[in-house]
Symmetry: C3
């Protein structure tokens, strides 16, 4: 693990070989797997799960009970081969509401995802998204 | 913290400056923030997160993995000002199914929310609600 | 509790009177209630809640933050009578994505449930399902 300065972690918390940037906060009941990068000044709130191959930019807010994924079960079941696991890229200043589930996607800078949404596609327009599947509600 | 009589808390559990009424039960892996009031004879099941400014009446059932919110990200990101955080009022005898996400709302007495729903508006009619967004399925 | 051989449990974890089969893996922040049977070679990932009366076959994958239920609140509130609690049967080789909520259902062998879905009905055709409520996307 590689921690920047002023990182706060509230126990109980399960962190594996991840990288957490300066001044970031990790809440309780969080699991972060290996090969995850959390940028600087991020908040990852309680009950959130961040899987391998997720990269968060700086100043990101990840709400409570947010779940990331990296495997689309393309062969009809989970893949045991790490090469099949897909990346998620969350750019700077993205805010993800509580209870959101994300497939492996890229979300551009400054987007806001409403609570309880399911993000199934890349979000290429800066805006507010909500629903299952998440749709653009308003541009920002 | 202020606990009534006969309160049960199953560890591990993170409770901050909240008030829990008589004979209420709080399951494991729950986080309850400050400025939360849980009434009497309530059950708050495992993996649930209750944020600041939530008030539960008496005889409420909050299922597993339920997530409350208090911030609508109105400025395009989380607000650091507590004055911007909105309240949630859950009246007596409300039952919220597992896996539900709630925006800051008011739910009147006796409502039932189906598992996996996302509650985005005040619920003013006593009934069963389900879906994302949650809609009235049947009056009670 | 009854554990087969080569069972892995990552703490913190709350397991009650359940049965876990050979070579199965239970991740952290998981709760499994009594009267649950997990088959052989299963993975139950972090933050998942498995309620009483759930039976998993062999080689099942249960993602992160998955929530099972056994009570439809048919009388307008949770039932205190165990006889009212309904069973869930998950057959062999079923893969349930992260963030899924399931009502008490039967899912036949080999089905795949997309992340963030809400399963409200029995799944009788082998296929990939997604959405709230979960619908058949593609036969397998």
């Amino acid at each position: 693990m590689e921690f920047g300065s002023n990182v706060t972690v509230v126990e109980p918390c399960n962190l594996y070989e991840c990288k957490i940037g300066d001044s970031s906060f990790i809440g309780p009941f969080v699991e972060i797997q290996s090969k995850v990068v959390v940028g600087n000044h991020c908040r990852v709130q309680s009950h959130t799960f961040i899987c391998s191959n997720v990269t968060l930019g700086n100043y990101c807010f990840i709400g409570h009970g947010v779940t990331f994924t990296n495997d689309l079960f393309r062969k009809g079941s989970p893949s045991a081969e790490e090469n099949d696991w897909l990346p998620t890229i969350i750019e700077n200043n993205v805010s993800i509401g509580s209870g959101v589930t994300l497939l492996p996607v890229k979300i551009i800078e400054g987007c806001v995802i409403g609570a309880g949404s399911v993000v199934t596609k890349n979000l290429k327009i800066k805006g507010i998204y909500a629903g299952n599947p998440a749709k653009l509600i308003r541009k920002l």
